[in-house]
Symmetry: C2
Subunit: 638 residues, 2 copies
């Protein structure tokens, strides 16, 4: 039943050989690798304004342009820095690898943890922002934002568990649509201004515009929110091996074009807001939707079509950005699991050749965030961007150290670029952590060190296990002799003499000559009856009956094993053979004692015990009682 | 850890011999056995008024007296009927037994189900009503009603799991306190009227008193609510064996005195309300608290003391009534489980000699009801009383049929009494079901048949099992010969050659000469490596390696067992030996694959398979890595 649903949802298993990907050309690599980075502009701009407007009012639009220029500058440094990462790590230069390679394992694990946190945030923020777009265009959807987000995340999960190929060109289209729609918006917006068309500013609720004055802290907080525009910039350097030959060149071109796109869209949008004064905020439509409404409106069918096209393309690219997190996050977990820092379950691909456990894990936490923060981008954004900038910092520092060490041709200017990159991103980390501390950044500030600590613990555990499992050459040699020393003894706990217990005793005989049948009674009458029926078996296997005055069932067995009567001798293994009913209907399970589970759990704590379960397949009640007249009145219960 | 908490809460286990009870004299039997019945007056009276007042206003008080008189008449018939049950069933005449004995198994199971439902309702209603009393006296507690109810139910659970003895005299005191406080209230109330003291009626919210006219339906609905006053009347007939010799006489006296107490309190309270016009309802104080306030007030310390004494004793007796459900419900379940109608887990006493599973089950459902109905007596009452009256009806009908059949001395008048009892209670069931159908009775109308259906299914299952387990004399005889036919073959699935898998293979050797080592690989390189290390073992045990192109782990093993290569021969048992790591810390469990569980679950569905688990006790990571320098950078993961 469950298997069938799974099969229908996820498709049948895929062969190992099916793993191979299409390589990205610049044309398709650009949209696929940059959807995350480009789409973040959609929330970065309004979130800058949301910080400023309630404090300083109309002046905010002016300052936002300045901050956007700073962020564009920061992005340029990043692009230059990452070009060098591409040069040095043609096999993929994720922050985890670059930091681990050059700064050591602690920095690597920190970068990995930081990035993992931000991939999760990408899903939560992008989907929430995406839904904000459509619920702004179709206001009737507004009350169901959280539910829509949940459905989208679940669809992303199912799609990714099926194995949506990130490389599929279909995923490139929304990015181009979005770039095109933004250009349309920006260009038309400017033309309207130049041609002197009247601009109608949005109605604002009273007190919407603050009347205070600007402060450094405020500017830095707006800057922090704006920094979310740069999340996703690292995507290209992760994916270098997937680029067409020459990989370095292709990747660098993609990176450059991505930078240009962000420059145009972020810059253009910031300038436009300074003219059109959109009013982002709680209960207000999404900024891009507002702008589309002010510049195109919905007066004619043609204008409405453009309006819905812009809103729709913003929604699509944001969902797509979440989808890229779905391919990057599980991959990151798998790489860390291969190094022993993550549970083994994340290491290998599932039936559909995707890292199923990582996908499910990502979904779970992203959904939790969406529900807790009610799919509110402004609230979620407090937790966002620290992780990305921390991993930028570690990766750039890694490159800086590497260049200092290798002293390759022309190393000084290169090192300066990476050094500058490290410096500015580190500064950004500190600014983000401080200015957004109260808005949720404190959670991330606590979680990342906790993660690093846990990851190191995990590796330690795996290493400790490998130590305990390792065989010396000596031990290997003696293998065939050794086993003859062992003696195997079997205890068969029974309730009563019936087909099931007799079957168990028989099996016990086949595996050892040293068998004991064991039973616990809570009254002496039952003991007599048991001994009587057991005698009928006419066997020489001894029956031990323990009276349990406290009606405990498991303990007397454990005590017996530990007791003098059944003394453990070195090398002995005690096999405890438990019969278990396998019922046909799920609810029948509740009709049988759970003693089996309790005994097993307790016995497995012993060193020299093997727990064997012998299942008895019960038939369906109706099959058994089919032929005869069953009357509940007469029948004695079992 | 868990065990320690349990021990501290519940006390240590009690010996079988500790089971023996004090016998009830009339003096202590009366309060202990009648707390449930007498306490129900506390909610029956206001719930009658709550139905009437919004419809017909002040006339309600008048009608309530009439309805109370009807209910007292009904009670008298019940007392007479139950005297005869006591005569015939000196070993305890619960409805389940009387109905099953005389009307057959279906009627018995119906009576048992109905009673079980109402025991659960008793806990929910009594505790909610009790908390209403104290939160009316201390209004600051009002917002926490649900929480207080939950705490009380949990305390009742813990107390009963520890084994509070119902027979303990301490449980008789609150009943006497309540009877005394009610007499004080009623007598003082009448004296005040006779002496002409002024009566101040309570302030009521506008529209509190309805202005409609009376209808039959309304009267019957008020009657239905009033019938809750009779819940608990059956308690004496259940507990006859616990009465002092001569048991019949003692029990009858207790029953009579209980009837008298209810007569006085219900009648007296109804008459008083007709004078004092208390105003029960949502947001209003509890009726008894209102009456105490009007008759005594809190003007002097002495008056206030009486006021709090009355409120407090009402609270105490209601909680005590819930406690009697805690001893009766698990006992009923146990009796039904002994007949095979309930899961076996309810049959036997736990460590503290109480029916722990029944107690926990009762608590769970009662808590659920309290939370869902927000501890609101008026809402809960919709579900109440049908069960009790249905079981009254079945029990009285049973007595009627019995007398018709036995034709004992003086049978005709006796049969008439039981017949009348059956008739009036059946009428009450119909009235309650119809008038309260929309208020929640529909839930009970659905649940009782469902329960009956399930209980019959349970018995059928147990019977089908006993058929399958039964051994013929023939089978018993051949026992010692039979086992020699069996052959035992062992499959040892391994991941790699390590200390754990080598230990498994060695154990396998001791239990059979026919051992196969089995492994699944998802790439050919791993297979080569495995074969290489396995060769070092220098053993003749064959190694089978299956390549799994779909990365499935469990399925290839199952396929191998089912395959031609490993053909099953009649009588063979295939033992699959699984190694399992037993880790020291709880979170380490997440670091290991759950394949073990999946394999076990799948294998246990087979007919001729035994699943053996060989645990490997892992040491604490720190113990292993203690002596050496562990460096996460250098160590290869496992």
């Amino acid at each position: 039943m469950f298997d069938k649903i799974k099969r229908a949802l996820l498709g049948s298993a895929l062969n190992n050989e099916a793993i191979s990907g299409e390589k990205y050309s610049v044309l398709w690599g650009l949209p696929i690798l940059s959807s995350d980075a480009i789409s973040s502009v959609a929330y970065a701009v309004p979130e800058m304004l949301i910080v400023l407007i309630p404090a300083i009012g109309l002046a905010s639009y002016h300052y936002a342009v300045g901050i956007a220029l700073c962020i564009i500058g920061l992005m340029m440094i990043l692009v230059l820095s990452y070009r060098q990462t591409i040069e040095h790590y043609p096999n993929g230069g994720g922050s985890y690898i670059v930091a681990k390679d050059n700064l050591g394992v602690y920095a690597g694990v920190t970068a990995g943890s930081a990035l993992a946190v931000d991939y999760i945030m990408t899903v939560a923020v992008s989907v929430s922002a995406g839904v904000e777009q459509i619920s702004s265009a179709f206001v009737t959807l507004k009350p169901y934002s959280v539910e829509i987000c949940i459905v989208i995340v679940l669809l992303l999960m199912v799609g990714n568990l099926r194995g949506i190929r990130e490389s599929s060109r279909i995923f490139g289209i929304p990015t181009y649509l979005f770039i095109f729609s933004m250009l349309l918006l920006i260009v038309t917006g400017f033309i309207k201004v130049i041609t002197g068309a009247p601009i109608v500013h949005a109605q604002t609720p009273p007190g919407y515009y603050g009347v205070g004055s600007i402060s450094l802290f405020l500017l830095l907080r707006a800057f922090s929110n704006g920094c979310t525009a740069l999340t996703g910039v690292e995507a290209v350097s992760n994916a270098i091996p997937n680029c067409k030959e020459p990989v370095r060149k292709t990747a660098k071109r993609i990176l450059l074009l991505m930078g240009l796109s962000i420059l145009v869209i972020l810059g253009g949008l910031a300038f436009l807001t300074n003219i059109y004064h959109p009013t982002p905020g709680e209960g207000q439509p999404a900024l891009i939707v507002q702008m589309a409404d002010m510049i195109f409106g919905r007066a004619t069918v043609f204008n409405a079509a453009i309006f819905y096209f812009i809103s729709g393309s913003a929604f699509l690219i944001l969902v797509l950005a979440a989808n890229t997190a779905y391919s990057d996050f599980p991959m990151l977990l798998s790489v860390m699991a291969q190094d022993g820092f993550m549970p083994r379950q994340f290491k290998t691909r599932g039936e559909r050749l995707v890292f199923s456990n990582g996908i499910v894990f990502l979904t779970t936490i992203a959904l939790l965030l969406i529900v807790v923060f009610k799919a509110n981008v402004t609230r979620l954004i407090g937790l966002y961007a620290i992780g990305v900038f921390l991993s930028f910092t570690l990766s750039q520092t890694g490159m800086f150290i590497r260049l200092l060490r290798t002293k390759e041709h022309n190393w000084l200017p290169k090192a300066l670029i990476n050094g500058l990159g490290a410096l500015v991103t580190a500064t950004a980390v500190i600014i983000i952590a401080i200015t957004k501390f109260g808005e949720g950044a404190w959670i991330v500030v606590i979680i990342i060190p906790l993660m690093v600590f846990s990851l190191l613990k995990v590796k330690k555990h795996y290493f400790a296990i490998s130590k305990q499992l390792k065989l010396t050459a000596e031990e290997l040699k003696d293998f065939d002799l050794e086993h003859k020393k062992y003696r195997n003894r079997v205890i068969v706990p029974i309730d009563s003499v019936n087909r099931s217990s007799v079957r168990s005793i028989r099996y016990a005989r086949t595996i050892s000559d040293n068998v004991v049948v064991f039973s616990v009674t809570i009254d002496h009458e039952a003991e007599l009856k048991l001994r009587e029926t057991y005698a009928k078996l006419n066997t020489d296997i001894p029956l031990i009956v323990k009276y349990s005055p406290y009606r405990k069932i498991v303990e007397p067995l454990l005590e017996y094993i530990a007791s003098e009567e059944y003394k453990y001798e070195t090398g002995d293994i005690i096999t405890v053979l438990l019969a278990r009913f396998e019922v046909k209907k799920w609810w029948h399970r509740f009709l049988h004692n759970t003693t089996h589970f309790r005994i097993t759990r307790n016995l497995l704590k012993h060193k020299h015990v093997v727990v064997s379960t012998i299942p008895l397949q019960l038939n369906d009640d109706d099959d058994i009682l089919h032929s005869e007249k069953y009357n509940p009145t007469n029948e004695k219960p079992w």
